[in-house]
Every structure is written in C-alpha cells, then in structure tokens.
Amino acid sequence: MSITPTNLRIVSTLKKHSMASLIEKGLRIDGRKLNEYREITIIPNYIAKAEGSAYVKVGGTVVIAGLKVGVGTPFPDTPNDGVITVNAEFVPFASPTFEPGPPDENAIELARVIDRSIRELRVVDLSKLAIIPGEKVYILWLDIYVFDHDGNLLDASMLAAMTTLLTAKIPKAVVKEEKNVELNKEEKIPLPINNKVVTVTVGKVNNKLIIDPTVDEEQILECKLAVSISEDGRIAGMQKMGTGVFTEDEVLKAVKLAKEVSKTLFAKINEALSKVQ
C-alpha cells in the first residue's frame, strides 16, 4: 500500500520562498542556472571485489553501484539470454528521513525505472550471455546504493549504473563435465554493451523547469519527469513522479531539455571511461 509520506524533510518556509522566487527569475539559490548541473565526479572500478563498479557524486549526492556475476538458469521465455537484475537501496545514514528495512517504494521505483531503460534499449547484449543456451546463462546483479542524499538520486544512480556496466569485466565461463559451469576469475572479458543511456530528471516549479534539484529544492517541486535518453538521442523511458500535474507543453519542453542535458552527462561518462582505458 502506498501512503502519503508524513516524515518529509523540513525546509524553512523562508528558504522555500526564496528558492521559488529565485527560480521564477531564472536563478538558483546555489548560483546555478535552471538548466545547469552540479559538479559531477565519476570514479569507475571503485570496488575491486565487484566485477564492475562506479562511485558517482553529484553535488552532495553520493551513489555507488556494483555488479556481481553468477551462473543460473534463464527465464523460460528468453532461454538464450542472460539475466540482469537491478536493485537499489537507500541506506539509513544517507538521509534523516531514511529508515532501515527492505527497499521502500521510492527505492523500488528508482530501481525499476533504471532497469526498464537498460532493458528496453538492450544496453547489455544479453543474447551474448548464454553459456549453455536454454540451460545455463550469466546472471548479473546490478546493485545501486545511495550513501548520501542531496537530491536527484535517479540521475546519479543511472550514471553509476551505466558506468558500472561499461567498465565491468566478467569472468569467463568454462563448461566442465556433465554441463557443470565454472567461472574462471583469472580470465575476464568485458561485458557486451550495445548502447548507452542516461536519465535526466526535470522538475517543475511554478511553470518553470529545472534540472538536477538539490534535496531542498525537491521540497518545492510540484512534480518531476524523469526522461531516459540514449546516446543517439532517442527517449528510452519516462516516469512522472510527485503529486503535481504537467501540461502537454511542459512535458514536451521537459523532453527537449532532457535531450539537451543528456549530452553533458554522456560527456562525463566518456571522460571517466577514457581515464580507465
């Protein structure tokens, strides 16, 4: 059951007013433009034990994603494809409003939006991840952990997820007797990748659209539209979040804005990759 949250972060009315009136004038409380991102740091291969990983910092938001790999049976409807599972957790120390326990609706929504964009765009070429077609395939677990919440968790998480997949090296599978499969950790192969995707969340305040809101700015957003964009500029997923409403015009503008901003994010990912290779 989904319940209206009552434990929201408290932002003073004065601050809310000044944030809103600044946005009305095309300014932000931290000096940014409406269509300007905060500083982004991406560190690939942050966790040596994981087959792939990335540390991402966007302003004060910190997310670490990691990929672990195993062998399992494929889904009956896709017997020749590997399996990828996306999971997200907001750890309790990341925000005063987060509680311990299983992922809540926000974490589940975030993981599912990322999962859908990755799946629909065939970012990972799952057809190359069968070991014994119909019987044994690679299973990929992509786990996204939020360690500090300063707003815009979805965009940061997608950056971490995408960088993780792009830099992952998975152990080569060796088929032994009686179709037993072993993973040879000495010999690693890059994960087969078809495409790249980023998510740009566009927030609405009084008919103005902003990107990359801080945690305080999120308190004055009426609603948000998360738009996933592929590197070739197609829309690879959308999710409206929050209790406000959009007009048709605003949605079209948000998509255009997201497409524009996505170039910056792809540049950041590619810059991080160039340092690895």
Binding site: T4, L225, I235, G237, F246, K256
Partner: protein
Amino acid sequence: MKPEGLKLINEEGLRVDGRKPDELRPVVMEVGVLKNADGSAYVQQGNTKVIAAVYGPREIHPKHLTLPDRAILRTRYHMVPYSTDERKSPAPTRREIELSKVIREALESVIFVELYPRTTIDVFIEVIQADAGTRTAGIMAASLALADAGIPMRDLVAAVAVGKVDGQLVLDINQLEDEYGEADMPIAMMPSLGKIVLLQLNGVLTEEEFKQALQLAKKGIMKLYEYEQQALRKKYVEIKPEEV
C-alpha cells in the same frame, strides 16, 4: 522473443484483435458495484477487468500518520492470483508497489485533500483479469469510485496506454501488443483541464513519435472521459423516487 510469423499489424493495417490503430477496446463502466464501500466502480476494457473501491475520508490509527492540513491518501493496486496466465502470488510484487505509488501520486493531484485534514482516503484497486492496461483501467475505476463516494475532485481521471507495435503507434494496447511491442506508454489526464497526472514510458520512442503518441492518447482519453460521465449519470438516473 516474438514468435516467428506473428504479425501485430496485418496487411490491411488492422491489429491482432481486428482494431484500427486508433481504436479503443470495448469499454464497460459501472458505478456503485459494492455494498460496503463508500464508493466503488467496475471498469472493463477488452479483457481487462478491474474493481476499485474507496473508503473515507475516515479516521486513521495510528494518528501520527495524519497530516494537520490535509488528508493523506492510501492506495493499493493489487492483482489477484487468478488474473494472469500463470498464477500470481498474492504478495505485493515490486511492480505493484511501484504502480500503487504512481497511482497515489496521480490521485493526490486530483482530490481536494486540503478539505479533510487529519483523515485518510483509502483507494483500493483489484485487478481481477489482466490483459494489459490494468493501471489505466485501475485509475479510471478509482476516479469513478472517488466520485461515487462524493469526494470533491478537480476532474475525473481518464487514462489509456499508447503502444508501438511493428513500428506503428497504436491506442489502448492489449496483452499481446504489450508483450511483443516496442513501447508501452500509459498516460492519465484530467481531461477537461488538460493536465497530465500520470505518465510512464516503457520502451524506446523518438521525440517525434512521443509527440504523436501524446496526441493519440489524448484522443482516446477524451472518449473514455465521455464513457466515465455516462457511467456516473447512469447510476443516479436509475435511482427511482421510491428508493430515496
């Protein structure tokens, strides 16, 4: 994987169930279908069947969950085990948790929650037969149930899913089109206000296709809005003077 030879659009440009690309499935809507609930409604779209019910505004325990300046909303979207091809476990899935959230957020923008401080409005949606478009049928049933319960709203909510199958945009997709199509875009609006309250896209579209999909959805939504109004009128027209 799409079965070999399956064509979702045939040579005449018709879909697997014989519909034109911009045609809705047959719709049945009925208001006040349950005895106990404060408001209820049944919505059927093709083979998708959904019941929604509303309780409230009512008191909530524990009281710390209330808000001093408005009602809270509690929403559950749930699929019953026999609604799908394979039995669905009755426990809430990640999908149901996500859909409950997006439906709650959609309804919160529609209801005048500020009229009922310190109370809860409970909206329950049960999908009894699933054939794609269950969240959109569910949100329409919920909005009819809210109207039936007499809860003040800015407008009714009408919703439909636009899909892309065999490269073509189609209105109100069915299960086959959802499974083997390239995109599924559920959208819910307050039709007479022209406001979008729910929007999701699962799949890949170009910007131009998205614009067209939005237009196609609006067309369907305006029709569904008429059906909703008819369903509401029907209930109140049918009350005979001696029953009052």
